[in-house]
Each structure stands twice: as C-alpha cells, then as structure tokens.
Symmetry: C3
Subunit: 175 residues, 3 copies
C-alpha cells in the first residue's frame, strides 16, 4: 500500500491516472446519454455503491440516498428509476475534475491479480430542463476503489458524497 | 478500427488520451482569451464544424447554429462575430471534462500517415458580465474526430451538441 | 525553453501533463476539505502567490486580493482566515479543467536540478451554503510555474486570475 500524495507521475503512475480518468469519462457519458441499463457494468459483481451527503459522511452516519452491494442491486435500482420517471423531461451533464490518486496496491482479482487504486474525484452536475433554463443540480466528490485488471478498470466501491444536504431531488438518477 | 470502451490506458492509449486533453485545453484557452482569429488553426484545412442542439441531433436534423467545412469558412465566421459584437462586454470560461476515447484508427494524412481518434468530451461554459454576475451559459458535449500526425493534433470534425434548446444567444462565440 | 503549444503528448510530455493534473487535484482537494493549514505545502519555500481580477491583470495593475512571496506568508494568511471565519457555514467545490502546458525548461532546484513547467488551467468554484442552495462563486484561470524535482511537484508561482471583478467575497478562502 503506497501513499502517492502529490508525487509527480511516474510511468506507472501516469498510466494509472489516465486509466482512472478514462473510466470516469465513460461512466458519466453512460449516465448523461441516459443509457442507465449499462451503468452497472462499470462495477465489479460484488461492489459497494452509496450516495450520501457531506454532513452525514462527516458524522459517520451509514444511511445513504441510494445503496447497493451487488451489480444486481444496481440493475434493480435502474428499473425502479425507469418506472418512477416515465415523464422525465430533464437531462443532466456531469463535469468531473482531475482524479486525485490516493493509494495503489496489488490485489486479488477473479483472473488472479490486479491493482487496486483508491482515488477521489470532484464532480459537478448541471440539470437542463427541456428548452428551459440550466441550473446547478449537485456537486461533490467520488470516493472510489478501482480494480484495474488487464483490460478492464471496474469500480469495487464508489461512495458519492454530495456537498449539499438538499437531497430529495437527488434520487432521479445515479451519480 | 478499435473500440476502446472502458479499457484502461496502455502506453499508446495513455499518450493519445493526454494528447487529446492537451489539445482541448489549448482550444478553450484560445476562445476564452478572445484570440478568435487563431481558433481556425485548431482544424484541418478541410474540416467539419457544427453547433447543434441535443434535440436536433437526436432527431437527425442537419441544421445547426453554426456550420463550416473549411478553415476559411471558420475564419469568415470569426470576422462576422467581430463585426456583430462591437460592444461586447462579456467574457466566457469553458470547463471541459475528461475526454472519452471512442475509437482509434490509422489514417491518411498530408504527410503520409497518422492516427484518427474519435472522442467525446463534456463541456460547461460560464458567462461573466462585466463586473456583474456569473451564469451558466451552455453545457453539452464535443463529438470530435482528431487527426494526430507527428507533432500536431488537429480537428477533422467537431460537432458541438448543446444540451439546451435555448439557442439564440449561442451565436456570440464559437464553442 | 520550449513552446509546446498544441503539440501532442510525447512520452515526456505525457508524464509532465499528468503530473501537473495530479498536483492540481491534490491542491483543490486540500482546500475543499478545509485542510487549509496544509495548503502552503504545495508551494516552494520562496514563492509567489497572488489573487487578482482579469481586469486588473489586463491593465498590468500589481494590486491583488491576496498576496504572498514565502510559504510563511501563506501560513499567516491561513491564520488570518481562520480568525475571521469563526462562524463559517459554507463549503466550496473546485472543478478544474485540463491544464494547458505552455513551456518546459531545465531549472535549478535545491537538490541540483529539475524541470520548470509553465501552465495555465481554468477553474470553477461552486459555493454550497449549509443545507441551502448552490451558486457559482468564482471562475478564472491559474497561471502557474511548477518545479518538478524528483518525487515532488511544487508551485514556484501561482497567479489566480478571477474572471469577475466582484471581489469582496473572494477573501474567504484561498483559490
């Protein structure tokens, strides 16, 4: 387990940083394209996904706005969203910042081995209402554990920490 | 033609991803610095540039808010903007997200060869009015085909898909 | 001294670009986590830090909203902020775009040598008020000179150029 801090990119560090950025780019593109059925594919079969608020996260409260620990539960969650949002007229745009790589370590994987990477990435989501106005919908940070294994980079864990405690509207889409 | 999907960065993939991000950084800096006369230099001589809305793009409508297929037409477009915006008091700030690399392929180029890269990149533009307030001006995504050829990375094609259909004010600057 | 312009990433260029992005990610994470006491550690002992507005920067006016030329002055600045903001109820989220690398050159460093990198990076800061609304707090660009020296990437100079001239509230945090 290595603390990478502000260390500049080495060859390996460069590839890992870019791999994380690339995976994040495809993740938010999937959601903003409204291809939610493909969203669980960004996670490992057994995983952890949770949306919470900065306030709850700071106080160590376990309850979140959305929660899952298998890919199947993520799929169920998408089905529920689809049923609830039949008349959805909004779209969203995620803008994610540079990922901060916090730790890299060797790990077990289904094919025998890989790298686990802990990273934190800030995000901003803008909501667009039909032909109407745009507004800031959410901001926060992704606390991630990625499994990089040969040709794939999958999320073992993503905790979405939203900055604001105004949370009721947050249930309309994955973050 | 290779579908790169969520595949983590290989040596080549890393360089291409970073090259695209770097080219995008210089592109938006050029516009936000109001050096519009240099903006056509980011494109190949024969090119495609178009601004459209998500709604029109989804319905396959060809009409766009701005359109050009040579570098000369881009230059003409800048001249028109300069004449129309004599009393311009606004400035803009583009924030672009991580590029999603969709495909890479070998291609013909003026010097004999190169790599063509298809990518999609989300963007957000904030408008700043004199010493007044800031507001969200536009969000959307760049659908790009880049020609990477030795020391240059140029746009063969950029389709700017704006999320909102509120489009009249969008004509004040390139995106 | 090399002008790198829109040149695509070479091996060295790739590592430098990613190193800058990585350092910026940790920098904004430190501020948004409210770990301001660690913020001076991102600078060299002798440094230059200044917040100014686009208008003042364009007119060459030296006065800025915040100014320091040693790490010690940055620490003093944090102490002053801590005393002034006892009842602080706000949080902030920085989103930074892709860095544009402008120049790279060999340089002197305390350990004998290193690379100095000039870069410009756009930023956006969102302010979150308790359980209330979010608003756009600031946008602008970082004009940076980084010293990359073995395992560290430190700021020799950062000039923060805010787009808006509405500046009174900007003093509540470093940018």
């Amino acid at each position: 387990m290595t603390e990478t801090g502000t260390r500049p990119a080495t060859r390996t560090g460069t590839d890992v940083t870019v791999a994380i950025g690339r995976a994040q780019a495809h993740y938010v593109r999937c959601i903003d394209d409204d291809r939610l059925e493909e969203w669980p594919d960004f996670f490992t079969e057994t995983c952890h996904y949770r949306i919470t608020t900065a306030d709850n996260h700071r106080r160590g409260l376990p309850a979140g706005l959305m929660w899952a620990d298998t890919r199947g539960m993520l799929t169920d969650r998408v089905s529920a969203l689809r049923e609830a949002n039949i008349y959805e007229r909004q779209s969203y745009r995620h803008i994610i910042g540079q990922p901060a790589i916090l730790r890299e370590s060797d790990t077990e994987s289904p094919t025998g081995g890989g790298i686990e990477v802990e990273s934190e990435t800030p995000f901003l989501v803008v909501r667009i209402t039909g032909d109407g106005p745009m507004d800031l919908f959410a901001s926060g940070r992704y606390l991630d554990r990625y499994l990089i294994d040969g040709p794939t980079a999958l999320l073992r864990s993503r905790v979405v920490v939203c900055d604001s405690s105004e949370t009721d509207t947050l249930l309309a889409l994955p973050l």
